[in-house]
């Protein structure tokens, strides 16, 4: 034995006991805690090398800054590590299934990122002479053409920055059209199940908001709507497919009735993913609809924006579209801004944003649309609807589905908290799913269903992913029905346990402040 090296590494399994061991750092192997930049950075550290400034006499109007700003700096390696550590505390589509209803969390193709970063788009200034940005204007024009054709509408306003901003654009166009014909109307009708942005938008534009009742099957009550229409109703805002996951069967009749009463139809296009390529909203009599490029057309959500919300418009509303927009004369693109609008577009309700909208989202969305083409987009809608129905039918025996009797769902499946054990709620199911490695579905929306759970799988998930999720949700739902106490304290395995939102709201701490200087002891 003497010739054998005894000092080498011997594999040893150790004791597999589960007790949580507190560590010196608070880290748990790959789960790493990270302090704030204000705690680890210093004013004198920088991760950027700059040339020295030439000596000049300052011309800053005697307003030179003397006070410190209070910005900590980190070197490049520290910076990369700080944000990499933070990133690992986030759930994301790249990591797993993200069935957040009405948010359309589909795969974000990396080709889209690549084209958006081409210097010809990423490195051009919005106020360059139009002759120097013909290709960038071409992207906007081509995307506009796709959006108008896919929706069967007359025109599209590209500048709105997000879905809610697009809603505002549509409602302002309606108001401008009514003003142009000297018709002051004061009411916008919204279904009770509407997303909160709809009433908020209508109210911002100066309208009173009234609810449209729903039928027991979860759709707009056409008779009640017709009864309410009149000379004071400017229009309706309807989501179709609606927030209960159902197609509004009577949409054409709704539109006809609203038009007959002199109003306009706004469609919230948040759920366009269910019908893209199969149904054109223009064929349903819609006058305005925003398209969330970050939903249907897969521009990344980025942890909460930026979004992009172009609005397609009917012939009746097109003249009121906001500035600016792109037109094509033979092979040359022009940008219609304030100066040229007077002659050709005098009815525009004005400008909604500085510059021309979310160019970085236009390139991504166009790449996505071209990749799918007319045939692929139709398949997108069909697979999204198929996946949602598969989830609905696979779980309706364990979770109550309030509208399962209303026919197939569209691209999202809706469940309620009916039948859970006393004291157990939708929130507990959501937190239980976190431990199972999923981002929870949308919870407590729409408001019309008690303890709503809205599951939107999207078309970019495989059957195997759906099967595993169905098994996991079934397991968590059964625990909630049986009153498993461990579910009340879930999540157990996430970077944080449940957070105290009451404390956060009662005594808001919105910025970091230096801790009180410790009083020197003795």
């Amino acid at each position: 034995m003497s010739s054998i090296n005894q000092s080498g590494w011997k594999p040893e399994m150790g004791n597999a006991d589960d007790t949580a061991l507190a560590t010196y750092t608070g880290n748990k192997a790959l789960m790493l805690e990270e302090a704030l930049i204000f705690e680890i950075g210093t004013a004198g550290t920088t991760g950027v090398d700059l040339a020295d400034a030439p000596q000049v006499a300052a011309r800053l109007g005697n307003l030179e800054r003397h006070r410190d700003i209070g910005l900590p700096g980190l070197s490049e390696p520290e910076t990369v590590r700080h944000y990499t550590r933070l990133s690992r505390q986030n759930y994301a589509i790249d990591l797993g299934f993200f069935p957040l209803g009405s948010c359309t969390m589909k795969h974000n193709p990396r080709l889209n990122e690549k084209v958006a970063r081409m210097a010809g788009f990423a490195d051009v200034h919005p106020l360059q002479p139009v002759e120097t940005v013909q290709g960038a204007l071409g992207v906007i024009y081509e995307l506009a053409h796709w959006l108008v054709t896919l929706t069967g509408m007359k025109a599209v306003a590209m500048s709105p920055k997000a879905g809610a901003h697009g809603e505002l654009c549509g409602i302002l166009a309606i108001r401008a059209a009514l003003t142009a014909r000297g018709d002051a109307r004061s009411v916008i009708l919204c279904p009770e199940s509407a997303h909160g942005t709809n009433p908020a938008t209508a109210a911002f534009a100066g309208y009173a908001v009234e609810n449209i009742p729903a039928t027991s099957e979860g759709r707009v009550d056409l008779a009640a709507l017709k009864a309410r229409l009149g000379p004071d109703v400017a229009g309706v805002m309807i989501t179709n497919p609606n927030t209960c996951g159902l197609f509004e069967r009577d949409m054409r009749d709704i539109s006809d009735a609203v038009h007959a009463a002199g109003g306009y139809v706004y469609c919230d296009g948040a759920n366009f993913n269910a019908i893209v390529g199969r149904v054109r909203p223009g064929d349903l009599g819609i006058d305005a609809m925003h398209i969330n490029l970050h939903k249907t057309f897969s521009t990344p959500h980025g942890g909460g924006g930026p979004g992009s919300g172009p609005v397609v418009l009917s012939e009746a509303l097109a003249p009121y579209a906001p500035l600016p927009f792109v037109v094509k004369d033979k092979d040359h693109y022009r940008l219609v801004e304030e100066e040229t609008a007077g002659a050709h577009h005098g009815s525009s309700f004005g400008r909604m944003v500085a510059f021309h909208g979310q160019m970085g989202m236009f390139t991504r969305a166009l790449a996505y649309i071209m990749s799918h083409g007319a045939d692929g987009l139709r398949q997108v809608a069909e697979d999204a609807v198929l996946n949602a129905n598969y989830i609905l039918r696979s779980l309706e025996d364990v979770l109550e589905s309030p509208f399962a009797h209303s026919g197939p769902c569209m691209h999202e499946a809706l469940f309620s908290d009916n039948g859970l054990a006393d004291g157990y709620s939708t929130l507990d199911i959501a937190k239980g799913l976190i431990d199972e490695g999923y981002h929870p579905m949308t919870v407590y929306f729409p408001l019309v269903v008690h303890g709503a759970m809205l599951v939107e799988p999207t078309e970019t998930e495989s059957k195997a992913t759906l099967d595993q999720f169905i098994g996991a949700l079934r397991s968590v739902a059964e625990r909630a029905k049986a009153g498993d106490p461990s579910l009340k304290s879930a999540p157990h395995h996430a970077p944080r346990r449940r957070l105290d939102e009451t404390q956060a709201a009662r005594k808001p701490v919105l910025v970091w402040r230096e801790p009180e200087q410790a009083v020197a002891a003795e």
Binding site: F98, G120, G135, A164, H165, G305, F355, D375, R393, R497
Partner: protein
């Protein structure tokens, strides 16, 4: 189709579970006359990654890019060098493909980043608190005017003539619908701002005074007197910053008494991107926080007592307050806020101060060089990295002639203020750390030739 994982046999198996014969059975609620028989006519079918990339390369080639040519545009969007690590970090899937952090236990990365961002913005602007960002500077400016109306319960907003004309346009559009009254004016090609007009006009009906700093012509002026007069009349001062790098060299608006400070954060981390997406910055005094629009991230603790972050004060927002919300805004500009925050973390106090000095010094040198050209006058007494030249002829054709020589030589005031004859000879020139002395020389030589 490369993004769609279901196979034909998966689809058949799933239809069987659902109890449907074909996919058409799932669309029975769509009236037959509204359904298309097949792919929409007149549009191409799916394309390979290579084909799509080729198409975009073709379009990209038709644009003259900022980094590869002498470039001097500003006017609300600025060219700065963005460190390579910024783009690397924002492309991490955990940031790029995450949603709004509504489930805080698995979104601490985004939430902590937002808390850091809010603190950076508040400190940069000299304010108590900041929100998690808005769409862009122009919409943030409009939201600030709306917020001032809610606080003062007044409707008259006084806008400085130095406010970016697009920001004015956006405010005018929105004011048509809200009943706000805007008092506006065109700027003059002069070193003097219209602060005297503002001081004279503030009265007991004024909700707010909106002042851009530095202003659209690049002028820098102390806002303290306006703040004092506004406060004496129960009105608020809103300061608008379109070039936040300037605040590395000049006083913060909060130091001069601004109640709300908004801005465009594009300069740091975001890039030009032909106008968007950008990131709106929004900060204010603590006492106004409940009237603030947009998302807010706050510190709290979890069930084990560990520090964590959540979205908070959300009862101000549309998803709870519906028609009574402070704004209909439903998103922020999260990924751009991340880029801003990373860039500012890389710079730190030292880096931002150094970057600001460098910008100012190069701009001073460029202004001296360009005003050596016969007939070219400098309008400004004060400026940071952008100034206004008065040319001996209309600036817009000059800019086009420069572009023909592949020089992007600033923004003509004719582009921004169409029809304003008194401004047509004005040229806005921005000079940042990205402009070399050769660029300035090329620009100056060409300008001289064109003006002859």
């Amino acid at each position: 189709m490369r993004y769609l994982p279901l196979t034909p046999s998966d689809r058949q198996a799933m239809l069987a579970v659902i109890g449907a014969k074909s996919i058409d059975d799932l669309f029975v609620d769509v009236p037959a006359q509204a359904q298309l028989d097949g792919p929409i006519q007149g549009l191409p079918n799916h394309a390979s990654e290579m084909a799509v990339e080729r198409h975009f390369s073709e379009l990209a080639r038709q644009n003259i890019t900022a980094s590869h040519h002498p470039f001097f545009l500003g006017g609300g969007a600025y060219k700065h060098h963005i460190p390579a690590s910024v783009d690397h970090i924002i492309q991490r899937g955990e940031f790029l493909t995450a949603y709004t952090p509504y489930q805080p236990e698995i979104a601490q990365g985004t939430l902590q980043m937002l808390f850091e961002f809010q603190t950076q913005v508040a400190r940069l602007f000299g304010c108590d608190v900041a929100n998690a960002s808005m769409y862009d500077g122009s919409t943030a400016c409009w939201e600030a005017i709306g917020m001032a109306g809610r606080i003062t319960k007044r409707t008259k907003a006084l806008l400085s003539s130095g406010l970016h004309p697009h920001y004015v346009s956006v405010a005018k559009t929105m004011a048509q619908y809200t009943g706000d009254r805007l008092d506006t004016a065109l700027p003059e090609l002069s070193a003097q701002t219209d602060s005297l007009r503002l001081l004279d006009t503030i009265d007991d009906e004024t909700s707010c005074v909106v002042v851009q700093y530095p202003d659209i012509l690049g002028r820098i002026e102390d806002m303290s007197a306006i703040a004092a007069k506004a406060h004496a009349h129960g009105a608020l001062l809103i300061a608008v910053v379109t070039e936040p790098v300037a605040l590395g060299a000049i006083k913060a608006p909060g130091e001069m008494g601004a109640d709300i400070v908004v801005g465009e954060g594009q300069s740091l981390g975001v890039g030009l991107q032909f106008g968007g997406p950008y990131v709106g910055l929004f900060a204010c005094k603590e006492k106004f926080v409940r009237q603030m629009p947009g998302r807010l991230c706050g510190e709290t603790v979890d069930a084990e007592g560990k520090r964590g972050f959540v979205l908070t004060l959300s009862t101000r927002e549309q998803h709870i307050r519906r028609e009574k919300a402070t704004s209909n805004i439903c998103t922020n500009s999260g990924l751009c806020a991340l880029a801003f925050s990373v860039h500012l973390t890389l710079l730190g106090e030292k880096g931002l101060r150094g970057l600001a000095s460098l910008n100012h010094a190069l701009a001073v040198q460029a202004a001296d060089r360009l005003t050596q050209i016969s007939g070219v006058e400098l309008v400004n007494d004060s400026f940071f990295n952008e100034f206004t030249l008065k040319l001996p002829k209309e600036a817009r054709p000059v800019v086009r002639a420069l572009a023909d020589r592949k020089i992007l030589g600033g923004v003509s005031l004719g582009r921004l203020y169409s029809g304003a004859d008194a401004l047509r000879n004005g040229l806005l020139v921005a000079v940042t750390e990205t402009a070399t002395s050769e660029d300035v020389e090329t620009f100056a030589t060409a300008l001289q030739e064109i003006l002859v």
